[in-house]
């Protein structure tokens, strides 16, 4: 591998986007969960819901902050490192990203302030509205970003005029062939990420035997969510796979480690070490015919293999092969955990079963790992194309001096590593601190549910302080 500016730019983009995607994956799900809890609290007045919302809003806020600052980088990196790409496909991708900013970023930012800091300035209904808008904004944002990303995988609705992309049909660009699958797959991934974060943290409290009512509610809700979301994700993943097979067969060949030009009755490889030079796998552990069964829904179905295209049109196979297995393996673990949780539920011992709580605890990062692994399968699998079949990645990199990119890459690696440590430290700190005290919260909210009440409350507090 040559570490020229082009490769460094690609590493930098891969690094910055991998870092970024962690945070939206968490916030999309958490925002939705918080909106659900706040709504449940308004409806039932059960304070545990309020406690859940009030507690999780803090991890949400720092995660959102990390997402914002790392996202700004991405919106400028196209231009700095991939200037030819920007010129070429700016007319297609630019407007989609502009719609994302207009319909989602401003919305989230506008209402986030009220959601985080408005407790004493607006009434509870208005506050709930703000929370819902923020959650809605995260969904809208994923819609546009996935539309733009999907178009690069399955481009449609465009024509090329004088070497530049022009759009014929925006409907076809946005709702390109893989977009619906990709969007649902990504949203479910985000929901699952938050689900296992909430479930795992709750399980940790139960293991430590503290904040039990709060943790029971959190774990129980997370398990119901996982029971619906995890199997659903398997089904959606299967549909998505079929769609990829139709439009990007070489990606599927890399995922499955299939080398021959075509293979009928292809086996499912549980493990193997793909060897790109010799165009084969080592140490295969396989289940005969199952890959064909999954991908063609027939035992003898034919699947296109890697050798059907010349070596320079193949992606880097091992990374895709292993990422895919990590994603699927952890996905299956999620399904298993959800089913185990349901089975334990019959007599409510899921709150006492130590091995189960430990498993849930250990599974906190699985959502993030799955999301990243899936992202690598999708993005590395598209190589060597940046726009599938039309634009090669190597042709669109800004001709920068290598040392300049190395300089920025070093800055990002140092900055992001520091930030990730800080982020994990503060997340752990928030979790250790635990949910806010219920009695105090209740009293507080009774006194403060409208701005005018807020002032009264403060005056009362001040009087108390003076009397003390």
């Amino acid at each position: 591998m040559d570490l020229d500016a082009a490769m460094l730019s690609r590493i930098q983009f891969a690094f910055t986007i991998s870092f970024h995607i962690i945070f939206p994956a968490i916030t999309i799900g958490l925002a939705t969960a918080i909106a659900i809890w706040e709504g449940m609290w308004l409806k039932t007045r059960n304070p545990v819901y309020f406690q859940l919302a009030k507690f999780w809003i803090k991890p949400f806020a720092i995660t959102f902050g990390m997402g914002v600052v790392s996202g700004i980088v991405l919106s400028y990196e196209f231009g700095t490192n991939f200037s030819k790409f920007s010129e070429l496909v700016g007319p297609v991708l630019g407007p989609l990203l502009a719609y994302e900013v207009l319909t989602a970023f401003f919305l989230e930012a506008g209402f986030l302030g009220i959601m985080l800091f408005g407790w004493q300035r607006v009434g509870e209904k208005l506050h709930y509205f703000a929370t819902c808008v923020v959650a809605f904004g995260t969904w809208v944002s994923s819609f546009w970003i996935i539309a733009a990303n999907s178009w690069m995988h399955t481009p449609a609705g465009h024509k090329i005029v004088e070497g530049r992309f022009e759009v014929d049909s925006w409907m076809e660009v946005i709702f390109n062939p893989s977009m619906p699958y990709r969007l649902v797959h990504m949203l479910l991934a985000a929901m699952l990420t938050a689900t296992f974060l909430i479930g795992g943290v709750s399980a940790w409290y139960l293991r430590k035997d503290r904040d039990v009512a709060f943790a029971k509610k959190g774990l129980s809700m997370a398990l119901w969510a996982a029971l619906v979301l995890a199997p659903l994700q398997v089904i959606v993943g299967d549909f998505h796979g079929l769609n990829v097979k139709e439009h990007q067969p070489i990606k599927v060949a890399a995922m499955e480690g299939i080398w021959p030009e075509t293979e009928a009755g292809a086996p499912l490889l549980l493990f193997a070490i793909p060897d790109m030079e010799n165009e084969t796998n080592h140490f295969e552990v396989k289940v005969p015919k199952v890959a064909s069964l999954i991908l063609t829904h027939s035992l003898d179905g034919e699947i296109q293999g890697l050798k059907s295209v010349p070596p320079e049109d193949r992606p880097y196979v091992p990374l895709i092969f292993f990422s895919f297995r990590i994603m699927v393996g952890l996905g299956m673990l999620m399904v298993a955990a959800a089913v185990w949780g349901l089975w334990l539920r019959r007599k409510h011992p899921q709150f006492e079963n130590k091995p189960f709580l430990l498993l849930m605890n250990l599974m906190i990062p699985t959502g993030v790992i799955c999301t990243l692994a899936g992202w690598y399968v999708a993005e590395v699998g598209r190589q060597p194309w940046v726009v599938h079949g039309l634009v090669r990645t190597m042709d669109i990199v800004t001709p920068l001096p290598a040392e300049r990119v190395l300089f920025s890459l070093t800055l990002f690696v140092v900055t992001y590593s520091t930030l990730l440590l800080v982020y994990l430290y503060f997340m752990a700190k928030l979790v250790r601190k635990g949910p806010p005290d219920l009695a105090r919260l209740e009293q507080h909210m009774l006194d403060v549910n409208a701005p005018s009440f807020a002032l009264e409350w403060v005056k009362k507090l001040q009087r108390e302080v003076v009397e003390d």
């Binding site: 700004i72 400028y76 502009a98 207009l102 970023f105 503060f426």
Partner: protein, 329 residues
Amino acid sequence: MDLALFYYLLLGFAVLMYVVLDGFDLGLGILYPWFKSEGERDHMMRSISHVWDGNETWLVFGGVVLFAAFPAAYAGILSTMYTPIMLMLIGLIFRGVAFEYRFKSERSKPLWDSAFFLGSSVATFCQGTILGAVVQGVKVGEQGALDWLSPFSVFTGLALMVAYALLACCYLVMKSRGDIMARAAHLGRKLVVTLMVILAIVSLWTLIANTEVRARWLGGINFVYLMPLPILSALFGWLLYRDLDGQPHETRPFWLAVGLFILGFAGLVVGLFPYLIPHQLTFWQASAPDSSLKFLLPGIFIFLPLIFAYTLWGYRIFSGKVEDFEEGY
């Protein structure tokens, strides 16, 4: 109307919105060394923690408008300004996370204070130098690592720091009482004077450095039409100085400072029109195909007014002084 012209104006508008809005919150970071106590810094941070994210969104919006409507200019400017843009982004990252972590830390608070101060200062300085380098006319596509660095661009970098700091002083006057307010007003007066001198120097320097700007400003009758800009600027500066004296007016200084920004920006745009990259690329040459420009139009007409409405509403909810009792989330 010509679509490219519309997007040129929209781009200018987005930049102006960004400069004014993120200007005051970046400026607060630059002011940190003048407000040393933890209480004062808490207060300053609280006065912007609910809006900084929205303010910074205008930077993203400006970026994507440039990307969507003028892809050639986006590619050219960003790749040429590689180093200052990367430094600006790193600065914005550090100051951005400082908001979240500062209030949750005890021992590491001073560290987040310096992250906020340094991040804000570096980001502002880089924005100023990028602007300066573009105005001066850096050759797009040239590969010298320090092409963007010149006496002029360093000067505009420092100038923008002064301008943001002034805006922040005026914002602080609006958002605080007592000691903080008095100090902000006092600092603000010094900054107005400095800024007026800087504005004069930058204006003259631009006239010397950029022949097109010179031709536009000094060519024939234009001079007469354009005179109101410097005259109004001087008037605003004087009013601002007066308003910050004694018992400062609460909100007027902020609006006067915003006025100064608008005037300065207008002067710049008048000088550069129709170039996006001086001497090299006009906005007509850089514009995207009509299919892209048209697709974005309804979005702009529907959503920009909405954005204004709810942003304004948000500012109203948090209007008035920041109260010490207001806890976060």
